[in-house]
């Protein structure tokens, strides 16, 4: 049994609810599963439907259609069986600003069965020295740390982290990534959303990229990146016509700037360099870059934003 199973999930906001005036379908037929002990990242631009999806998994909202199982249970109808085994970090904190860090942790421990001692949870995220500070005086990064501490207080088997590192400084992000890895080593299943693509690339065992409510690419980071072409860029010397380029793959030329996209980076590069040597040309600003998750992501996001583009076409284009 997978720790998280999502099948044909749809979530429609009624007219007047959420941001848009009319009815709006934020999640459109999303399916994926997260294996036990796996770190799974859900990526996408703002409004892609990540949080709407995660809220259903957390049991905060009912799906409009489809089924969702967490540890084999319906997170809404069977919440009493799910809640003691999950930890949740919402996108925004949600703690009374006038309580201190210690008081907040004590409150949360009080509503959690078999909770860690509050002090231990705060130590885990490096807030051990800030226990008497009011929540309103914490920095954005410290609030995220507090939220993480509370998500961990019940030693959850499944952890939902909605943009856990947003607002953290680089050190905080590194600490959090380290902590998430340790949790995986202990067998915790983690579903996280993030804006930081290198974070997803380093942390996630598998990931899915959402666009306009659908999953448009998924797999291991390597798989998702492998579907993308590598890129060679350089500037043509003055007086050299683009027609003279030797490449079997098409190149995009903008003035003197040339961009080559290829799935055969080594072959294309060899061809190009041999041609340049034989012609006695210097290729200014030459760069060859294997595809990264960031590039994959940006390309998918741009495909979705192109005017007149149908959602379904965006999807086939990405898969092609």
């Amino acid at each position: 049994m997978d720790a998280i199973e999502v099948e044909g999930l749809r979530r429609r906001y009624a007219a007047g609810e959420g941001t848009s005036g009319g009815g709006f379908e934020a999640v459109r037929d999303v399916s994926f599963s997260v294996r036990e002990g796996e770190i799974f990242a859900l990526l996408g631009t703002n409004g892609a439907g990540k949080t709407s999806t995660v809220e259903v998994l957390e049991g905060l909202a009912q799906p409009s259609a489809g089924t969702v199982r967490v540890l084999g249970f319906d997170p809404c109808a069977e919440r009493a069986f799910v809640r003691p085994r999950t930890g949740v970090m919402l996108q925004e904190g949600g703690f009374p600003s006038e309580l201190t860090v210690a008081e907040t942790a004590r409150m949360w421990a009080g509503v959690t069965s078999e909770a860690r001692p509050p002090g231990e949870a705060l130590e885990l995220v490096g807030l051990g020295g800030r226990t008497d500070v009011r929540v309103k005086q914490l920095s954005g990064g410290e609030r995220r740390r507090l939220d993480l501490a509370l998500a961990l207080i019940g030693r959850p088997e499944v952890l939902f982290l909605d943009e856990p590192t947003t607002g953290m400084d680089p050190e905080g992000r590194r600490d959090t990534a380290e902590l998430v890895r340790e949790l995986r080593a202990e067998g915790t299943t983690v579903l996280l959303t993030t804006h930081y693509l290198e974070e997803a690339e380093q942390l996630a065992d598998r990931l899915a990229i959402m666009q306009a409510g659908r999953i448009v690419a998924s797999g291991t980071p390597e798989q998702v990146v492998a579907e993308r072409p590598s890129r060679i860029t350089f500037r043509l010397p003055a007086g050299v016509s683009p027609e003279r380029l030797p490449l079997s793959v098409p190149a995009a030329v903008d003035g003197r700037a040339v961009t080559v996209r290829t799935y055969e980076l080594q072959q294309a590069l060899t061809e190009l360099l041999l041609w340049a040597r034989d012609s006695g040309l210097a290729l200014e600003g030459l760069q060859a870059k294997a595809a990264s998750l960031e590039e994959a992501f940006l390309e998918i996001a741009q495909a979705g934003n192109r005017p007149g583009q149908e959602d379904d076409r965006a999807m086939t284009e990405v898969r092609a």
């Binding site: 009493a80 085994r85 925004e92 949600g94 009374p96 006038e98 008081e103 421990a109 009080g110 509503v111």
Partner: protein
């Protein structure tokens, strides 16, 4: 539901006890949340003023109003006119109006949403938020009633059971209506306004400032259906024994009815997160 048995077997193993425990209402969870809520109340000066001082201050204005009113022919003394009103003030200010602000404030801070991701049940979350105000309301009512009875020379109530019934129903009613009102309150600023209709209706028509006895019968009859009127009538009747048996039953039914309606509205309309 047929799924219940399979559910239980699926949860077999060491986790079963943990899961089952989380399914029942828990005093420990309510205690932890109520403790945090009490801390927040103590740190909020304006709320503290409304909860602790306003009802007592209002009692003095009740006293002077009642002193000027013509109570002849109503069978009331200044004491029996004022005492139920003091409890009315406690219920309206310390419980009702204060709790509308608490529920809306916690919702706007996303605290309610965060709490719902944990093990606490919805009823535990709402109940725990009300607990400090309700407890203060009880203590305050008892002190004001005892002090008032002494100072205004009315003595002990002949029917203490009616006083207790009025107080308990009043607390349940005002706490429930506070959550219901919060459902229709978008922002903490509006939480200053949305309690007004019930408060004004109660002042004018439920016998807080002026006993219904001095109104024409038909108007008094209409007023008996307002949410807080039965509470005030029950309290007053504890001293005056003015309610007949059927009248007492009707008062109980009206108070329970409004509470049930409030609970229904909460179930159907309460919002756990802000509209964005």
């Amino acid at each position: 539901m047929s799924g219940t048995t399979t559910t239980t077997t699926r949860a077999a193993g060491p986790r079963t006890a943990r899961s089952a425990r989380s399914g029942r209402l828990s005093a420990q969870r309510v205690g932890a949340l109520a403790r945090a809520e009490l801390t927040l109340l103590i740190r909020n000066r304006s709320a503290l003023f409304v909860v602790l001082l306003l009802p007592t201050l209002m009692t003095f204005s009740l006293r002077s109003t009642a002193g000027q009113a013509d109570l002849s022919g109503t069978g009331l003394s200044v004491g029996t006119a004022v005492l139920p009103g003091t409890v009315g003030m406690v219920l309206l200010f310390a419980v009702y109006s204060n709790l509308v602000g608490v529920y809306v404030g916690r919702r706007e801070e996303l605290v309610l949403k965060r709490l719902r991701t944990g093990e606490a049940d919805d009823r535990e979350i709402l109940g725990a938020a009300a607990l400090p105000s309700v407890t203060i309301g009880i203590v305050q009512s008892v002190l004001l009633l005892a002090g008032g009875a002494l100072l205004l020379d009315v003595g002990a109530p002949a029917r203490p059971d009616l006083v207790v019934a009025g107080l308990v129903l009043g607390l349940l009613l005002t706490a429930t209506l506070a959550a219901a009102s919060a459902a229709f309150t978008r922002t903490t600023e509006l939480a200053q306004l949305t309690p007004m209709p019930l408060m004004l209706a109660t002042f004018a028509g439920s016998g807080v400032f002026v006993p219904l006895e001095i109104y024409p019968d038909q108007i008094a009859e209409i007023c008996r259906w307002l949410p807080m009127t039965p509470v005030m009538d029950l309290l007053r009747s504890g001293w005056t024994q003015q309610l007949s048996g059927p009248d007492t039953l009707r008062a109980l039914a009206v108070a329970v009815g409004w509470t049930a309606l409030g609970a229904y509205v909460v179930r159907r309309r309460f919002r756990w997160e802000p509209r964005r």
